[in-house]
Amino acid sequence: MKLGVVKAYMLKELTELLRTRLIVMVYLMPSMILILFGYGIRMDVSHARTLIIDNDQSKYSRALTSKFEHSRYFDATVTQMSEKEALHRIKQATTDIIVIIPSSFQKRLLHGQKSEIGVFVDAAFPTRATTMESYVQGVILNAAQEATQNLGTPKGLIIINNRNLFNQAMRDEDAIVPGLIGLVLLVAPAILAALLIVKEKENGTIFNFYASALSKREFLAAKLIPVFLLHSVNIFILFLMATKLFDVPFRGSFTLYWLTSELYILISLSIGMLISVVTKRQIVAVVLTVIITIIPGFLYSGILMPISSMVGESYIEAHMFPVMYYTHILYDTFLIGEGLASAKTQLYLLILVFYALGMLSLGTLFLKKELK
């Protein structure tokens, strides 16, 4: 390899990135995605707007309503409005939940009779509806248990003692942000790399490569090294944002995080480069990269669904994209902290190494030093 030649090409690449202001994209896009998604996606429900129609107005009914009022999950209002009017509120999307306590609630309770509590949930947003439903049930059943305990000793009670591993408080940030890093470091480098070669093809400057004695490997090295170095900075920026801005704990080895991320960036760049090699127009390259990276990035990063829950094709697809292997190690370094002690981490790291080598060789293979 002629180092001087590669250096000159790299210098040119860097100058172009700076002067075309493409460098803004390198640093703006990852941070923007992390902030928007990190703040934007909330899986758990808080402050659900709840209307409680208390038709009983008794000690017990008030005990129940106060449980709602003191929960951070609900913004509860106790009213006297009619059921019809309340339902209308839901239609207007100003209320999410209606809880109706029947008029003879306390009387029946004291007589040991069952009374029915009506709950209406706005299911226009289905997953949230399911979550809200279980919250409401939890609150009511909890109150009921307390009430029965006061009334007499129960038999054969099973209580669940749950331990929330890795994310004690079940914070959404902890669950999402590491996955987002996996998404961001897949998409951003890939889009940048996708432009690198196809841009020269579209402008005609690719002739400089065709007509020179530069080898394919030298050309690829010159293209990839500058963007690789630029994106490496993102590893640290994203780390700081995750730990400082989103307060995600970091329990594992930073070195592992850092090195794996570098490897992963290399893979993302190679994917983009591969697209750049096979396409002819910049816009096609960008659209193709977006389609190829964003959807799998979302689906297989573990943000939306754990890999273990996948069956059939999606299970196979998840194993075909690099994002699953990387986010496994990411979640480990942030939340778990097993590190290289885990055989699975070692395996995944190895897979990533081979992935990178494979993509790079494919790029070299497909790159042709001639007009098509």
């Binding site: 994209m25 009506g118 209406f120 226009a124 289905p126 591993l165 902890d174 829950s309």
Partner: protein, 360 residues
């Protein structure tokens, strides 16, 4: 409307139909992309891997386990020791681990409080949390407890909490937003790229007419795409309900896409190539989409974002569309959405119109 207007409109539609790339992108976005979103993005637990360690004889524990069935759960897998179980959770092969210890059955039979230990992989917070809710209900049935209340829940508008049609609809709304901006901008930028811009300027035609006809042509394309997406995917594949007025939705969509074309005009004014259009559109539209409540209801957002979301026309459009599709809201109650879309839309269109008008 005069002849020049229709000539421009027709020309743009023809040009669109002839550019295979754009047609492919629009078709893909309005069908496959929406289908993938509906089919692929499932947040409620499905196929959850459960592992357990059973140190009891296996009476109650097995009964509890039989309640964990498909499609939410995969058949529970038995581990020989707690260590093995936690290994599996650490490797993220198991999401929820149940530990029935020796005391569990004894305590239960004796009428004491029996403790069931549950280990949750909280890196997948929402799935494990919902799973916990399921378990609590199952366990409650076992407790010989005669609770004095029964809960009767109605999931209004979408009794089965069918997530697919909802995700598909949300994706459709995002696709409309992104495409109208990109398409409108491309129509103008293509003239810049191909050098026909000057020819356009030299036509004895009022620039306002050109801008209007050009942006309207793209609105038509998007509306056609919407019909396609509704017919084949949203109603066709996912059987979304339509509790409100179909025409209210179409009208809202028309108003919305027409006004969002204003963002496209703005993008067209500041970019010189199709590539720049793609970059600008993504940078501008991503925040708009996220502020819209497409993923998280506005009231659950960070307070600062809540305020900002008032300025996203997509917010009114999404809330309005959800209301029409699911809540079946009547025309009269839709006014906040219509006025939000129209007010912000008029502003945006006016701004974009002026921005591109300066280039004429």
């Amino acid at each position: 409307m005069n002849r020049v207007f229709w000539a421009i409109l027709g020309k743009e539609l023809l040009a669109f139909l002839r550019s295979a790339g754009l047609v492919a992108m629009v078709l893909y976005s309005f069908t496959i992309d929406i289908y993938i979103a509906g089919e692929g993005i499932q947040i409620k637990p499905r196929n959850v891997h459960i592992g357990y360690v059973d140190e009891t004889g296996g009476g109650i524990s097995q009964k509890i386990l039989t309640h964990l069935h498909t499609p939410e759960f995969l058949p529970p897998k038995r581990y020989r020791s707690q260590k093995e179980l936690s290994r599996s959770i650490f490797n993220k092969e198991t999401l929820v681990g149940l530990v029935f210890d020796r005391e569990f059955e004894k305590d239960f039979r004796q009428g004491k409080k029996a403790q069931l230990n549950v280990l949750l992989d909280a890196t997948a917070a929402s799935q494990s949390f919902t799973t916990l809710g399921y378990l609590q209900n199952i366990v409650l049935d076992f407790s010989e407890l005669d609770l004095p209340v029964a809960i009767k829940t109605h999931k209004l508008f979408n009794e089965n909490a069918d997530n697919k049609s909802f995700m598909a609809l949300t994706e459709l709304l995002s696709v409309i937003t992104l495409l109208i901006v990109i398409l409108t901008a491309v129509v103008f930028v293509k003239e810049k790229e191909e050098g026909t811009w000057e020819i356009m300027l030299l036509m004895p035609v009022d620039p306002r007419l050109i801008i209007l006809a050009k942006s309207l042509s793209q609105v038509f394309i998007v509306m056609a795409g919407v019909v396609l997406a509704l017919g084949f995917v949203v109603f066709g594949a996912f059987h979304a309900p339509m509790n409100g007025s179909f025409w209210a939705f179409m009208l809202l969509t028309f108003l919305y896409s027409f006004s969002s074309a204003g963002i496209g005009l703005f993008v067209a004014a500041v970019s010189n190539s199709v590539l720049q259009v793609a970059q600008f559109s993504i940078i501008i539209m991503m925040p708009l989409i996220f502020l819209s409540g497409a993923w998280t209801p506005v009231y659950a957002m960070h307070p600062v974002l809540q305020v900002l979301s008032f300025f996203s026309p997509l917010r009114y459009y999404i809330e309005g569309s959800e209301s029409i599709f699911y809540r079946g809201t009547e025309w009269i109650d839709l006014w906040p959405y219509f006025s939000g879309v129209m007010l912000l839309g008029a502003l945006l269109y006016w701004y974009g119109f002026r921005k591109i008008g300066k280039l004429f």
